[in-house]
């Protein structure tokens, strides 16, 4: 029990003293996961919208692949990103392995199917004729897509939350492709794993609390937007 109390005390101390190392780890976490979420939003919303609005042979297969991708195990992603970025791998020349950039790549691969799947569901839940109605109002294709996205904004906010939530709390891929290098590629989750394995529970608890705090903060912000827009 002392362990936990000590952990909380230490965490509190680290937080208010703005410990440089903890600060650096936190910032890198937010940067990597934030960037990965943003890239995955761009890719996922485009892909999800495209699949939702078009008919093509093999569409059902693509939809099931996307849905399966929503449960992509981070360690599998980590493994393949490592293999691809390995010195002799296809992208070895880029020398990205064990860099934050590689972590962004891995996290983007994890978040994109999540965003795509939720976007797809959101767009499909709109009435089919709405698209025709918007075009009939004289909209160009980009205008139509923009209006459709605005119509689906509530579920799209859920896509952001799910995507960000998925990558900020992910550890397997980050540790494999980032290497948990101190002051360079160490993020909240990889640091927590390391500190726990070393028995530094106070530090691990402190890092976990920070992680939980940010997950909560970002979801709170998005929830407030979502609930403001909720039909009353």
């Amino acid at each position: 029990m002392d362990l936990i109390v000590d952990g909380f005390l230490k965490a509190f101390h680290l937080l208010i003293s703005l410990d440089r190392e903890v600060l650096g780890i936190t910032l890198l976490s937010l940067q990597v996961s934030g960037l990965a979420t943003m890239i995955s939003l761009f890719l996922g919303i485009s892909c999800g919208t495209a699949v939702a609005l078009t008919e093509f042979p093999g569409r059902n297969l693509v939809v099931s692949l996307i849905n399966a991708g929503m449960a992509l195990p981070p360690v599998v992603v980590g493994l393949f990103v490592t293999v691809f970025f390995w010195r002799n791998g296809p992208f070895g020349f880029m020398e990205l392995l064990y860099t934050p950039a590689a972590m962004v790549v891995a996290q983007t691969i994890i978040a994109t199917p999540i965003v795509t799947g939720i976007t797809l569901a959101a767009m499909q839940s709109l009435p089919k004729k709405l698209r025709l109605q918007i075009l009939a109002l004289g909209a160009t294709r980009p205008q139509m897509l923009l209006i459709l996205m605005r119509e689906a904004q509530l579920p799209l906010l859920a896509a952001i939350m799910a995507g960000f939530g998925g990558v900020i709390s992910e550890v397997g891929a980050s540790i494999m492709v980032g290497g948990n290098i101190k002051g360079y590629s160490r993020v909240l989750t990889t640091a927590t794993v390391m500190e726990t394995s070393r028995g530094n529970f106070d530090m691990a608890i402190a890092l976990s609390i920070i992680l939980l705090f940010f997950v909560f903060l970002i979801n709170l912000a998005l929830t407030l937007i979502q609930q403001r827009e909720r039909p009353r």
Partner: protein, 361 residues
């Protein structure tokens, strides 16, 4: 020059032809109603005219200009408006919905406000402008939808069964308002519907569609009184349709053999020819014991009442006289003649009440 000219238009879906219009013209300022059963191709026709559906073959001219080029699609769509059966409102206020088409056209804010308030007033939704569009009743939502369409001041408006989902009172008042707006703005309109009364209240001309084709088009009274085939007849209210062959011809009148009865009618037909006879229910007289014998009514047939269906202020009586007949009676007649299901009566109708369609050979 006609507002809209269609030549040799063909639309296919999955290789199956769903629309085939050899020629169609619409004059500026005219309103046309398209009547037809579900699946007749009414919606497909309107979507094609709005360039929302790709057609496999044909020519579409708007004020003489060919609008088939892809780069003309959006500018063309901005000259017209389309209203669907469902209101399909955007997830925002009524004001923003009415303004949607104007915002798409990047109109100045002041102009948008002017237009919105003008058309909100015409459609009597001014008091709703700040409301959430999702909280409207069916009638209010469809009024908002129409205001959104008219606010863009289209040269032509396409209405796809806009009243089908509304309750009777909201429908009636909306039809009246739409009629006056169409007259006031002189907007050319095409209305697809399966309700002939709606069509008659709004249209100058009627077209009947069936199986992807326009089977008849003409002035309302012409289509109403001279339907060219069975589908057209049933859609203009000639509920009784039966076929028979011509027994004898004399001086413009002739006798048709139908299910063992001889029915007299007027028209130019040949002996032995198969014809379709149509009678409106309002032209059927029901009596007891052949009471109409010896009058100018030429057809008096024994019949049995199959069913009596209340229609609000009157009743529709289904009769079996070897073939099926429908007639209207008032509540009073029903009581005075003590009409009941299963009762034997006499059915009478004048030879002039029979509309004859010659079967194509």
């Amino acid at each position: 020059m006609p507002m809209l000219t269609v030549n040799n238009l063909k639309v296919a879906r999955g290789g199956i032809p769903v629309l085939d219009i050899p020629h169609f013209e619409l004059e500026a300022g005219e309103s046309l109603a398209i009547l037809g059963p579900n699946g007749a191709g009414k919606t497909t026709f309107l979507l094609t005219l709005a360039r929302l559906l790709i057609y496999s073959q044909g020519e579409l001219l708007f004020k003489g200009q060919d609008i088939s080029l892809p780069e003309l699609t959006v500018p063309y769509r901005r000259r017209l408006a389309m209203v669907f059966q469902e209101p399909l409102l955007l997830n925002t206020t009524v004001f923003n919905n009415v303004a949607a088409g104007l915002k798409i056209r990047r109109m100045a804010k002041q102009e948008i406000e002017k237009r919105v308030s003008k058309y909100a007033e015409l459609l009597k939704i001014t008091h709703l402008l700040n409301r959430d569009a999702r909280k409207l009743s069916g009638g209010e939502a469809q009024r908002t939808n129409l205001a959104r369409a008219f606010a863009t001041e289209p040269e032509m408006i396409l209405l796809d069964e806009p009243f089908a989902n509304l309750d009777a009172p909201s429908r009636d008042s909306l039809i009246d308002d739409l009629h006056s707006i169409l007259r006031q703005t002189e907007t050319t309109a095409i209305l697809a519907t399966h309700d002939r009364l709606e069509a008659l209240r709004l249209a100058d001309r009627l077209a009947v569609m069936d199986g992807g084709k326009i089977v008849q088009i003409g002035a309302c009274h012409e289509v109403m009184n001279h339907p060219v085939n069975e589908v057209a007849a049933s859609f203009v209210g000639m509920e009784t349709v039966f076929s028979g062959y011509v027994l004898k011809v004399a001086d413009g009148s002739f006798v048709v053999a139908v299910a063992g009865h001889a029915v007299e009618a007027l028209g130019n037909v040949e002996k032995g020819e198969r014809v379709l006879c149509c009678i409106r229910p309002e032209n059927i007289i029901i009596s007891h014991d052949n009471a109409m014998e010896g009058t100018s009514v030429r057809n008096n047939l024994p019949a049995k009442i199959v069913k009596i269906i209340p229609q609000g202020s009157f009743f529709k009586v289904h009769l079996d006289c070897g073939f099926f007949l429908a007639g209207y009676v008032t509540q009073q007649s029903l009581e005075n003649l003590s009409l009941k299901e299963g009762k034997n009566v006499t059915v009478s109708f004048k030879a002039t009440a029979v509309h004859v369609i010659r079967r194509e050979k």
